[in-house]
Amino acid sequence: MWALAHQIGLWINQSSLAASARSLANIYFWLIPFVQITHLLGMSVLMGSAGLYGLRLMRAGDDPERLRQAGTRLVPFVIGGLSVQSATGLFMVVHRPTRAFDSLMFLPKMALIVVAIGLFFGVLHVLKRLSAPDLSLRLRIMGAGLLSCMMAITLAGRLISFLRAS
């Protein structure tokens, strides 16, 4: 799998898109810090919304309707945070594809993002369908999963440049 990821990294690296990203970063010295800062701020929004919603789900005794309302209120922040993360993350990957694809952390991070999105919207779906007595344990497990995923995504993101597959 890592060999395939390495090949994908090399392929993107040779593309005109990667050349354009590198060229832009050379012209505008502030571009990379700007993209990194925006990525960090987007991460904080996601941690405060999806991550802490997971923590709230883990608490016992919250009314399901109140939980559903709280989750619905966070949807614009989750979608906004994800959009910012996707745009800035994509630029960073295209700018230095081998840094991402040669890392042990990049593919697990992407997989965890998919799981976290599924869990967040899965919780909202479950809250709509089930009645209070059925919810408690399932919600706590999903909440623990969501918070763990968000924390693991953040840690994996920081470790991308340090842990190499080859």
Binding site: P33, Q36, I37, L40, L41, M43, S44, V45, L46, M47, G48, S49, G51, L52, L55, Q69, A70, R73, M151, T154, L155, G157, R158, L159, F162, L163
Partner: protein, 160 residues
């Protein structure tokens, strides 16, 4: 005297260990970013509630349940930050972005203290409703200060 203090920090055995062992810096940096992300993420929604811009149907008391978590995450950020600071204390303290970042963390702390000494004492009067102007201003200052802390933290390696 300050230089002596910085040099002795750099000479501490733990500073040498962090410099010599390549596993420490990535671990400390990842922990610092995670804990700061938790602080800023939690503060963001609490401040938006204080400003009356988010979750107005929920009480401020309910929104403030996140405060213990903010303290735990802040302590973690402080410890990991101090451990990254110690091996290169002289270089960090000479860095303008780092100086301003520290100043903003102090400002955020002072702002929180003023809020607790002022509007927070009359929380029962506005817990379920619109926050008073001083609480709104405090929320705005806190939000801007923490966003600036993230920005400056990232700018430290890019500046002198």
């Amino acid at each position: 005297m300050l230089q002596d203090l910085l040099t002795s920090l750099e000479d501490l055995p733990i500073s040498q260990e962090i410099t010599d062992n390549p596993i420490w810096f990535p671990l400390l940096e990842a922990t610092h970013v995670l804990s700061l992300g938790l602080v800023v993420g939690a503060v963001l929604f609490l401040d938006l509630r204080l400003m009356g811009l988010f979750a107005r149907s929920e009480s401020v008391t309910r929104a403030a349940r996140v405060i213990p978590l903010i303290w735990i995450a802040f302590a973690l950020a402080l410890i990991s930050g101090a451990l990254m600071f110690a091996p290169a204390a002289t270089r960090y303290l000479a860095n303008t972005a780092f100086q301003v970042k520290l100043g903003l963390i102090l400002l955020a702390g002072l702002n929180m203290l003023l809020l607790h000494q002022g509007a927070w004492r009359r929380l029962a009067d506005w817990d379920e409703g619109a926050p008073p102007i001083l609480a709104r201003i405090s929320g705005a200052i806190s939000l801007l200060a923490w966003i600036a802390v993230v920005i400056l933290g990232r700018l430290v390696p890019f500046t002198q």
